[in-house]
Assembly symmetry: C2
């Protein structure tokens, strides 16, 4: 939206416009003309800053990966009991999974992964793998404090995130209605299963 100003630098304007275009339309459908128009610059300016379309796309993904999980700090669960901690984690992850940006990234990255393997790996490392590491840390902490009995935190983390995806993640990817299930309902169900499956007295 913001017209390009010389102070911020047109490179940033191009990058921001490219993020919008690629994530909204997908790699193939987002033309360089569209990016130029959104950025308020000419196509030649884009090519002055980036070697080509695929390089611009790579820069977009890299930029978003950096900020991908900035808002996800889970050390705050260290004083909570298991139900509260799991509820907090579940809510955070579910909101992240269903955020428009995450959904757009999911689509565009999986769609181009075959043609850009390095980008796919970078995305996974900076996104899902980083989130998983945070969850693993939290689960290990709950185990250490006797709140849960988690022998394999990595595996438990995968199951937890998978349950949160459930059906609703795909529905959102497809642009379909939620099917009458709201997020809090899902969080409660997932927490209940986790508490039963990883109860300390088991």
């Amino acid at each position: 939206m913001a017209k390009a100003t010389r102070s911020v630098g047109k490179r940033d304007a191009v990058l921001a416009a490219a993020q919008d275009a690629f994530l909204e339309l997908g790699y193939g459908a987002a033309s360089m003309d569209a990016v130029a128009a959104r950025a308020g610059v000419s196509k030649a300016t884009i090519y002055a800053h980036f070697p080509g379309k695929s390089a611009l796309f790579g820069a977009v993904i890299a930029a978003r990966c950096e900020r991908a999980f900035a808002g996800l700090d889970l050390p705050s669960v260290e004083a909570m009991d298991a139900p509260a901690a799991l509820g907090l984690i579940a809510r955070r992850i579910l909101d992240l999974l269903l955020s428009p940006e995450s959904l757009a990234m999911y689509k565009v990255v999986t769609g181009e992964a075959a043609r850009m393997p390095e980008m796919a790996e970078a995305f996974h490392a900076a996104g899902p793998a980083a989130a998983k590491a945070a969850i693993v840390g939290a689960l290990a902490d709950l185990d250490r404090r006797g709140q849960l009995r988690v022998a394999d935190p990595e595996l438990a983390s995968e199951l937890l995130v998978g349950m949160l995806k459930g059906d609703i993640h795909l529905r959102h990817l497809l642009g379909l209605p939620d099917g009458g299930r709201d997020r809090e309902q899902i969080v409660e169900a997932v927490v209940r299963v986790m508490l039963r499956a990883y109860a300390p007295g088991g």
Copy 2:
């Protein structure tokens, strides 16, 4: 691969070639020229049988949806106890989720869902929703026979499939290595969680 023969009809050859091209390359990257070349026909022949590219794509998705879950018959669990039934279901679903065709469909359909909402809905109904219905039936049967205590089979089905997706589904979508976890290990873990969470004596 197979050259078009008049006996089978060129329409089928076009459809088969289109399936290969769209699922391998994605909708945008698969050109009509590429489809024509793979089918061994001219582009004009394609347009004699299909109104245009998007209609051809729709026909491809529809055709694959019909056969999507043909191999998934779960009534066979009706004589099994809970561990055996859950193990069978989990193995079948996981193999389906990670099959190359399913992964390709997942990518291409989510990628084009925003531009083709009807197709997205048809895919969901014929694929994931149909599979879910089969699982719900099996879980309800286990509940009826006292093998499990499942108050909400729909919800339980969503959690089950989600756990199976876990991390490995995304890894496969991205073309990354499995991360050292094999399928049987995932099946065992998921079954264990399900048995604990939905134990009849709970």
